[in-house]
Amino acid sequence: MTVTATPVLEVRDIVKTYGGVHALDGVSLSLAPGEVHCLAGENGSGKSTLIKIISGVERADSGAITIDGTTHGHLTPNEAIRSGVQVIYQDFSLFPNLSAAENIAMLSELAERRVLSSRSRIRAAAQRVVDDLGLSLDLDAEVERLSVADRQLIAICRALVNDAKVLIMDEPTTALTYSEVQRLFVIVRRLQQRGVAIVFVSHKLDEVLAISQRLTVLRNGRVVESGDASGYTRRAVSKAMTGRDVSETRLVNDVAPDAPQLLEVEHLSRAGGFDDVSFALRAGEILGITGLLGSGRSEIAEAVFGINPADSGRILVQGKPRRIASIHDAVDAGIGYVPEDRLTQGLFLDIPIAENMVAASLDAYRTRFGLLDRRRIRRSIADLFGRLRIQAPNSSAVVRSLSGGNAQRVVLAKWLDRKPAILLLNGPTVGVDVGSKEEIVTILREQAAAGMGIVVISDDIPELVSCCHRILIIHDGHVVAELAGDDIDADEIQRRMAA
């Protein structure tokens, strides 16, 4: 251990059980001022529970939390805030209907137990933090109208308005582009110099290793590794998290030379989105489409699936030109789409897994009399549930109770049940931990091997490299490069994306 300063936060022997299951089983963690500490672990390893306990949202069954020398047996959210603990949640927890300034300053107004609220004081407090971090933000704009990156900055500003000593960032980079992540890291280093201790939670191991000094890995509610981040490689962290070797090596099946063309896109354009995009996809092939956020990569997929149809160009499915002006047309043509934001676009959260799985394909289960064939539905559900290795007590659990990786598998199951010839996936592993990621990629490989044509839109380059036959790189709405076979290389893609 290189830590010599007195820790600003010390968590000792925290135990937390939910209905007999140990979510946390004697977890200890200490944090020195000015340290970036990475907290890694798969979904369900206890990271979120630990964060909730440190921020006072949940109460530990036993154990103690010491912040700045004061030991708390039971911490309330307000006590945590007053002792200088701030959490930046994955969803930012901002007020969409209030101005940026008010979002930032609300916290200090409340902490000072004010009765009257003053617009000029709020404005000044917010401006001070923004200037302090050297940012430029429109403080009068409603948060609803700001970009995700700006919202993230506002969440950071809010956390700092009250002189935070400990800043917990829960997956801060999930929605950011490469350059926005770099900008975030600059801010993190600046805070670090000021003595703020930062807990950094992320699934992106490269980022974690780049920014952290120390690392703690949780698995099944226990600390399995803790030490200097410099002593770990990506592979070692993955192994600690999952308890097994996770392969990220490139593994692609050969496409049969006579495999038919499933999808041909010719000179597709959409004003403000992309321009003159052409590509083809054969049966059994996995095609990657990548580019920075805002490059047009998602828009291309949305045009092929008819969400925002293209203005001009041609789409051929299995050799036949198809007019795709709506989602309905695309589904008719045998195209499936797994959207980026699965929580709002792809799933019915409060409905059981089983019903979600067959939600898109109920038509196929109609009997002669127009009724649903329950027996066949049950068979399909059991088959998909096993095939996609969904970890849930059973298929009647509601989707909301699932982790990110498992929810994503339910979305996949829903589309696989429709048996589309072509499946487009937008960010299939966003917010999914390494173990699940590997399994999802394996599922995609299996589907391709069975003759499906798959398009993966993603900015997770290692993932694309590991499974794609070909990769298109989009920049400013144009295809700037197409890499295939041995030319597929992570550094090369990174370079071309930013160019």
Partner: protein
């Protein structure tokens, strides 16, 4: 140009609403010479007073992300109970009567607030339930009899006849407009300049985020529903004073009209948005149509249809403005700009 127009329109379409009111006034003045008079104006003010007070309560609940339909029941419960308490000449000035009624109203509101905040139940269903309970208890235990002017406490009948301004031809401006205006201003100030008011917006914007930032959501909601209950009770007493009678069967059933006026005034039924200015305009527009459609020769049977059309228009404009404001940034142009 468009920026200036957008500013004129106001954050919740208040400007647009004002323009519609001006248009309606001009149209009605042209159609009927009897319209543009002080008498008509004072009548409009008089008929707007009670709906306005109710609308303030509805606005507060809408901003916090809920829908309250129990306020007419609270209003008549509090007003009728207070009237029966002071009926047998046991004294009590108008001020005391208002105070007692508002205490009762706050108590009933607290019941709403505790159930909603503690158990996190949907506000519409809770208040639908309590509305029935309040009305049932009122009729079963307190009284079901119509109380006419002669039997009302003297403080109320005296208040009924206090006019601020009288005009020839029978028109008058009732003095209760003064406390009503004061309350409107107080609520506006509270929403704008107090942490409590801003917390209501925050809770309506995202309740979980409010909890995480340290707002005591349960406490704020309980206080809010108590305040709304007190406002409803105040409206109930004003209603009794203006009508010079107390009828336990009245008011309940008018809740949707009030909610419609508030939504027309720009408040979002999804919470987090709404202003006192817009609410005032919404109430005035609805009353203007309700009162004066007959004057310009349109049968009164069309009143409800007209209000319905207005409401649909108002909500459509809101939805349209929202989708335009939130349209996704154009990918390519954004890259170029950056």
């Amino acid at each position: 140009m468009t920026a200036r127009l957008a500013r004129l329109r106001g954050p919740n379409n208040e400007g647009l609403l004002l323009a519609v009111i001006v248009l309606v006034v001009i149209a009605m003045s042209l159609a009927s010479p009897a319209f543009f008079t002080a008498g008509t104006f004072f009548a409009l003010v008089r008929s707007s007073m009670v709906p306005l007070i109710f609308a303030l309560g509805v606005l507060l609940v809408l901003i916090s992300g809920g829908v309250d339909v129990s306020f007419p029941a609270i209003a008549i419960f509090a007003a009728y109970t207070t009237v029966t308490l002071f009926m047998d000449g046991s004294g009590g000035t108008a001020l005391v009567i208002f105070a007692v009624a508002m205490l009762i109203g706050a108590g009933l509101g607290m019941l709403n607030g505790v159930v909603i905040a503690r158990f996190r139940l949907p506000t519409l269903i809770v208040t639908l339930g309590t509305q029935g309970i309040f009305k049932g208890v009122l009729i079963a235990y307190i009284g079901s009899a119509y109380i006419s002017a002669g039997d009302l406490p003297s403080a109320i009948t005296e208040a009924s006849d206090r006019h601020l301004v009288d005009v020839a031809g029978g028109g008058y401006l009732h003095f209760l407009i003064v406390p009503v205006v004061v309350i409107v201003l107080l609520v506006a100030a509270m929403l704008k300049w107090t942490v409590f008011g801003r917390s209501i917006y925050a809770i309506g914007g995202d309740t979980e985020a409010a909890r995480r930032v340290g707002i005591r959501v349960v406490r704020t909601q309980v206080w809010l529903y108590m305040l709304v209950g007190a406002l409803a009770a105040f409206g109930g007493v004003v209603y009794v004073i203006l009508g010079k009678n107390a009828n336990p069967q009245s008011l309940v059933g008018t809740e949707l009209d009030i909610i419609a006026a508030v939504v027309l005034g720009g408040a979002s039924i999804f919470g987090g948005r709404g202003s006192v200015g817009g609410t005032v305009l919404g109430v005035v527009l609805v009353q203007l149509i309700n009162n004066n459609l007959v004057l310009v020769g349109i049968p009164s049977t069309w009143q409800r249809a007209a209000v319905g059309v207005l409401l649909l228009l108002g909500v459509s404009i809101q939805a349209f403005a929202a989708t335009r404001g939130r349209s996704r940034p154009v990918a390519v142009q954004k890259e170029v700009a950056a």
